[in-house]
Amino acid sequence: MSIWKYANPVTFIRTTDRLLPWLSVAAVLCLATGLIWGFFFTPDDFRQGSTVKIIYLHVPSALMAINIWLMMLVASLVWIVRRHHVSALAARAAAPIGATMTVIALATGALWGQPMWGTWWVWDPRLTSFLILFLFYLGYIALWSAIEDDDTAADLTSILCLVGSVFAILSRYAVNFWNQGLHQGASVMRAGAITGSDTEEKVSNVFFYPMAVSALGFILLFVALVFLRTQTEIRTRRARALLAREQST
């Protein structure tokens, strides 16, 4: 049993068709549970008041914005090395989802920042690298649309994805590289913060658990959407190929 059998478009569509209903239900359940739990059943933070409820959207969307680009990087590398069309199309399918997650992270960050920092936006390392990541998403989507030949488009967008990965990683570690700016450092995905061995900037469990459920919902939603959108890309590509064959005969 090899993972590469899913590089066959027919196998991919057949397998994902079976998984999609389950993934969709699980995504809706996790998202609803995490967000309702967080919004209605958690207390206000002693310092940030009710704005802490934005964490259930801001952190999962920011995590997804970075990790979707890294998923696109893996898919692009698979395309470059093994020339599997499904992986290139999966990367293409993921880009609009990643762009949406980046917009959500930027918008909720601005809405959270205004009352806490007194400003909607500041050229802080993390915020700026996130904005650049968003521009990379737009460039990636535009490049796919601008090139007619699918293989050439996949080649060029894969290279763009490799370059953009620098900013995806920067947006995760910007606060560590440049110890300045308004945005706080990592307070969730830090070994000490999770195990409880350090207490600085640690997210309280009261907020952490609903946020983790919400993040799981975001992940499941992404997987369901990327399966659906990859199927769409496969079908659109096949339709174009059939039309081209029809016109040439």
Binding site: F40, G49, T51, T100, L111, Q114, L221, R238, L242, E246
Partner: protein, 52 residues
């Protein structure tokens, strides 16, 4: 049932409206595009089958 969001109610509610709105738009657009691609491909395959 609605929690008291105090003076930050507008930014908290705006965060939820914007985020959930964007997610709904993304999901609806993905489903509609998927249905159209499936229908278009079936139409082309049926036409080629009839023509063959």
């Amino acid at each position: 049932m609605m929690p008291d969001l105090g003076k930050y109610a507008d930014v908290v509610l705006a965060s939820y409206v914007v985020s959930l709105g964007l997610i709904v738009v993304l999901v609806v657009a993905s489903v509609l595009r998927s249905r159209k691609a499936k229908a278009d491909l079936q139409k082309i395959e049926a036409r080629l089958k009839d023509g063959a």
